[in-house]
């Protein structure tokens, strides 16, 4: 069998479709994007080589506002790590203690992850609707008329209003990953600790948390890279507006590409996003390893 299994021809045939698809759509385009980022190009005409000018312009031009977009997405990443993940962790730990209705809670909490972001976005547009949206209707009904706002249309409130559904939608996702980890803690460990008189809180703190560290690392990486890449909900809710208040790198990139036909600049943003995602993934991995 080993003779048959080591034939070069077989190996090649079995691997070829995957290699073509993977390299053609994922790997090669990274290089091509990096190459395009060095040009001034409108997508169809001639390309003009301009070296690193796109990068320079991106970081210095206030008109493009890349720094602001980047700051917005880093703020989202921070909120995600310090608000969304702790909430998800709390839910996972509680559900991991065999509470009644565990499955029902778990399934309901995970549901928003499965609903299309367009649907979620459209729903929240209606929730935030200044005249008929339930948020303002609710505020008016309890007499807080002056708190009712044009949530997505005002510069001061738009960013916060966009972040709420973005953070809310994926709590269930992180909770599910962490819950899977909590459930993988051997019951003997839990029981032994309980016999020693440890409280639920102590068990979570000293047994469960160290046990699920690998999953926490994955969650933090996903939360940060996911925030850097975030696009769908923001696109549906505000598309970066009003006055670029909710701009993130992805909305800026799509804007450059398909509204302003600046393919070189769009590629530059794409390249920076890839670099940032990989850099943060490595950095977070290193921080967790340091802790051990």
């Amino acid at each position: 069998m080993n003779v048959m299994y080591s034939k070069k021809r077989h190996i090649l045939i079995f691997l070829l479709p995957a290699l073509i698809l993977f390299c053609g759509v994922l790997i090669a385009p990274i290089g091509v994007s990096a190459y395009f980022s060095l040009f001034d190009w409108n997508g169809f005409g001639a390309k003009t080589f301009i070296g690193l000018s796109n990068y320079r312009e991106l970081f210095t031009s206030n008109a493009i506002g890349f720094i602001k977009a980047l700051r917005n997405s880093l703020l989202l990443a921070a909120l995600s790590v310090f608000l969304q993940l702790p909430l998800a962790l709390g839910l996972a730990l509680v559900l991991g203690r065999k509470v009644k209705g565990e499955r029902v809670f778990l399934s309901v909490y995970f549901m928003p992850v499965l609903i299309s972001t367009v649907v979620i976005g459209q729903l929240w547009l209606k929730i935030y609707n200044p005249e008929y949206g339930i948020l303002n209707v609710f505020l008016r009904s309890i007499g807080l008329d002056n708190l009712a706002k044009i949530w997505l249309g005002t510069k001061q409130t738009a960013l916060g209003a966009v972040f709420v559904p973005v953070l809310w939608q994926y709590v269930g996702y992180h909770m599910l990953l962490m819950y899977a980890g909590v459930k993988s803690v051997p019951t003997e460990l839990r029981e032994a600790a309980m016999l020693d008189g440890a409280s639920n809180w102590q068990i979570d703190r000293y047994i469960v948390l160290p046990y699920i560290k690998a999953i926490l690392r994955v969650s933090v990486i996903f939360a940060v890279t996911g925030s850097l890449k975030s696009f769908d909900l923001i696109y549906v809710l505000t598309n970066g507006g009003p006055l670029h208040a909710t701009e993130v790198p992805s909305t800026l990139m799509i804007n450059m590409l398909f509204l302003r036909n600046r393919y070189g600049m769009g590629s530059t943003i794409a390249v920076l996003l890839i670099i940032l995602c990989f850099a943060f993934a490595l950095l977070i991995g290193a921080v967790f390893r340091e802790e051990e």
């Binding site: 299994y5 759509v25 549901m111």
Partner: protein, 277 residues
């Protein structure tokens, strides 16, 4: 152990139920306003059940909004993507777990890079290539990128399952005169059903909801997928909330329907896709 834990427990349940309501409310609200008239939605009856169940909202969403067409497009793209992903991933996994050669481990790591690469990386080059090949505004413009981006996760899941199939099966099949293809198609693939289900579900949800590619690579309205279609529809009917609600429900229904019956399997597929990345 029997310390008085009652108050703490009650607080925990209140918290759990509160978060459940926050998660259920938007969906409940969507279902109810999809059956209401504007008068009810805009004041008479904002959050209650509809006084008069207006199913006509659904007929108008279906008739005027081209929803059946978007549904069909999404289904074609999702099914084709699932099939291609599965065939390609199963073949690659067979080479990565069964066939004998050096660098297997490294190639596996290489494929796992795909779990971290954001789709932004490929948007410009893929767009340019698709347009040169005149594939923009065809189903292929979505099927090919979706399959490629599903591949890493599919290989990850398939590797786990394929490693658990005992090698003695391959050996006895080989002694019985099976070729490599015979072993792959008749022994391995039929035993991969659980992996196929996991990958299928995960891939389905990914393509069913994807927005960025679907928005950019397809501009012809007759080829739009559901998310883009719903988005366009909501732009057209800004003042008629009922039919928009109906369209949102129609777009969400298949996913929720599958979720009700396969919640455990779906959750497992998401866990499998994330852990050991």
């Amino acid at each position: 152990m029997k310390r008085n834990r009652k108050p703490a427990e009650i607080i925990i349940y209140v918290g759990l139920i509160f978060w459940m309501i926050i998660n259920l409310f938007p969906v409940y609200w969507m279902f109810t306003f999809s059956l209401k008239s504007n008068a009810e939605i805009f004041g008479e009856n904002v959050i209650g059940l509809p006084h008069e169940w207006r199913w006509s909202n659904y007929t108008s969403a279906l008739n005027t909004g081209n929803m059946p067409r978007y549904f069909f497009n999404s289904a074609v793209v999702a099914i084709a993507t699932i099939l291609i992903t599965l065939v390609v991933a199963l073949m690659a996994t067979f080479a990565l777990t069964r066939l004998v050669w050096k660098q297997k481990k490294n190639l596996n790591k290489f494929f796992m890079l795909g779990l971290t690469i954001p789709i932004h990386a490929s948007i410009v080059p893929v767009y340019v290539t698709l347009s040169r090949l005149h594939l923009l505004n065809t189903y292929w413009a979505l099927i090919i990128p979706y399959s490629a981006f599903s591949l890493s996760m599919a290989i990850l899941v398939c590797t786990g399952f394929m490693n658990e199939i005992p090698r003695e099966l391959d050996e006895s099949a080989c002694i019985d005169g099976c070729s490599v293809w015979g072993i792959f198609l008749r022994i391995i693939v039929p035993l991969m059903k659980p992996a196929v289900a996991t990958v299928g579900i995960y891939t389905f949800l990914q393509c069913w909801n994807e927005l960025m590619f679907a928005n950019i690579f397809i501009s012809k309205s007759s080829l739009r997928t559901l998310p883009v279609g719903v988005q366009a529809l909501s732009g057209q009917y800004t003042t008629e909330w009922g039919p928009i609600g109906a369209a949102l429900v129609l777009a969400t229904f298949p996913t929720l329907f599958i979720y009700i019956f396969l919640s455990k399997k779906i959750q497992e597929s998401f866990i499998a896709g994330a852990i050991k990345g």
